[in-house]
């Protein structure tokens, strides 16, 4: 039977377009390991993985060629036909096994009509056993990945220990059809468009900012022979990515969380304020700063359990004068973000096209150098049958990115915050990330200690 074909949603297009920009499928990979320091019944785990493929429709999504310029459609096959393999890395050290799994994260999927998720059972050093999930970002974002892993382990504990059978997952197809219908809702599109047009009318053309200061924009101005250019070039020739991770301890994290709670602020907005303040400082006090904020549009129960990619990105643009107090600046960002959230069904590609029409900047130039995603869902299994068992989890970079610097902030199982900076090695290095993290922390903790300090005064103290 011919499977029904669907176009990609705007959220999927965010991950699909870099394939064309970079000319490789590598940028679409998302890979993670989850293992327990405990013996596992691999025969049972295999059955659970097969059952997961049945329960979780997004794992059966495939992409079909739909044009000569990389266009695709998607369809859902009725079952997963491939065998589940097992890999034995027990002869290695932890570091060696980690390195091997990092290499797997670079392995590309074929572009058309192939499975887009591979789950491999693993035997790891130090008595760890578990699985490695390697999938196409267009079928699941990190929340989708966590749903897969949690559901799988709940299935395992159901059959192994008699725990409750996990509730059925919601239908990926149903949510896909719903999302596509929303995207086609002309009344809503018109309202969303008006919101962005009003923003552009009010603030005019955005201005590029960079942690490397004003010279980055100046270089682009020279390259394009345009002294008034306000956007800078993307690095697409060498998009290799380095990763630098930092952990904030639980007590310090608590202070940030408490500040947010006490002032009815979200952590995302506090982080955005920290980043935009550092960018402003590095660009000579520039007031007009844009940070790209990635949000996972999962609010209803159905959205949380449908898998899929629901991450979408919009510019968080704020114009904040130096005499603005830290807390007021945070509320300004919150206000901007609340309005953006209200229009978060809008296709970012439409937004990009409208900006381009209004300000015809050169191809592959952008107004933002920094992207943020804050994920409040911890990477852990909330499964009482596995409580107390040491867990080995790790996300592996796919190694390339079109974004110059992408910060992912998550919660560690110990209650601390984890900051993972992915940066383009052609432009930045570890030291830049150390400075960025150092100043980000100084800004945040100075700000929560003295919320009435102006951002201008704060920049002078850095």
């Amino acid at each position: 039977m011919e499977e029904k074909q669907y176009p990609l949603t705007p959220a999927q297009m965010i991950h699909h377009l870099p394939i064309r920009q970079l000319g490789t499928m590598q940028c679409i990979n998302v890979s993670a390991v989850l293992a327990l320091q405990s013996p596992l019944d691999f025969g049972l785990l295999k059955q659970c993985i097969e059952l997961e493929y049945e329960r979780n429709e997004c794992l059966r999504v495939r992409f079909a060629k739909a044009g000569e310029n990389g266009e695709v459609t998607q369809y859902i096959v009725p079952r997963h036909y491939e065998d589940i393999s097992i890999r034995d890395l027990t002869g290695m050290s932890r570091e060696e096994a980690d390195h091997v799994m990092q290499q797997w994260a670079f392995e590309t999927f074929e572009p058309y009509d192939v499975p887009t998720c591979e789950i491999t059972m693993l035997m790891l050093p130090d008595g760890y056993n578990g699985m490695y999930v390697h999938l196409d970002h267009r079928i699941a974002d990190s929340c989708g990945m966590i749903v897969i892993i949690n559901d799988l382990m709940q299935l395992y504990t159901h059959f192994r220990f008699g725990a409750d059978m996990p509730a059925p997952l919601s239908s990926y197809r149903e949510m896909l059809e719903r999302d596509l219908a929303k995207t086609a809702n002309e009344k809503r599109i018109a309202k969303d468009r008006k919101f962005w047009e009003d923003q552009f009318d009010q603030f005019g053309e955005p201005m590029y900012s960079d942690i490397q200061g004003l010279r980055v924009l100046q270089d682009s101005r020279k390259r394009h022979g345009d002294k008034t250019l306000r956007a800078a070039d993307l690095e697409l020739e060498n998009p290799a990515v380095g990763v630098k991770d930092f952990n904030l301890d639980p007590d310090a994290t608590r202070a940030l969380v408490d500040f947010c709670m006490n002032h009815e602020l979200s952590m995302t907005n506090l982080l955005l304020l920290g980043l935009r303040t550092y960018l402003s400082k590095m660009c000579g006090g520039q007031e007009d700063i844009t940070v790209r904020n990635f949000i996972s549009r999962r609010s209803t129960h159905k959205e949380w359990t449908s898998g899929g990619t629901r991450t979408i990105a919009y510019p968080c643009r704020t114009v904040i004068s130096p005499d603005t107090e830290f807390l007021d600046a945070a509320y300004m960002i919150q206000d901007v973000q609340n309005h953006v959230y209200l229009h978060s069904n809008y296709d970012p590609q439409l937004l990009k096209a409208e900006m381009k029409e209004r300000w015809p900047i050169p191809e592959n130039t952008v107004y933002d150098s920094m992207a943020l995603t804050y994920q409040p869902t911890p990477i852990r299994m909330e499964n009482p049958h596995l409580a107390g068992i040491p867990i080995w989890t790790n996300w592996y970079t796919n190694g390339i990115n079109t974004k110059k610097c992408y910060l992912t902030v998550t919660h560690n199982p110990d209650g601390g915050l984890h900051f993972s900076f992915h940066y383009q090695t052609a432009r930045l290095d570890d030291h830049d990330m150390e400075l960025l993290y150092y100043y980000l922390m100084r800004i945040l903790f100075k700000g929560i200690a003295e919320p009435d300090m102006t951002v201008g005064e704060m920049m002078l103290t850095l």
């Binding site: 809503r188 979200s266 549009r297 609010s299 209803t300 159905k302 959230y341 209200l342 978060s344």
Partner: protein, 80 residues
């Protein structure tokens, strides 16, 4: 379409871990129902689609409780 109290609470329940029948007018979206900013905005977008109405963004951002949301909707419906 008119939004009944029952339907409003059923809609809210889709976004939180509280059953529709346990949701009261005094409950605050953020503190009691644990809505994030994004959840609340997504909920408002859903309301707009359900009621085929256009919310005043500045007004809806002031809504804190279920009762305030119900009053806002009632006012909108009365004005139509």
């Amino acid at each position: 379409m008119k939004m009944t109290d029952k339907k409003l609470k059923e809609l809210i329940a889709q976004y939180c871990n509280v059953k529709a029948e346990d949701i009261t007018d005094g409950m605050r979206f953020r503190e009691d129902l644990e809505f994030s900013s994004l959840d609340f905005m997504a909920f408002l977008g859903e309301l707009e689609d359900e009621l085929d109405m256009e919310a005043d963004e500045e007004e809806v951002l002031k809504i804190r409780t279920v009762g305030e949301a119900a009053s806002y909707i009632a006012n909108i419906e009365a004005a139509v």
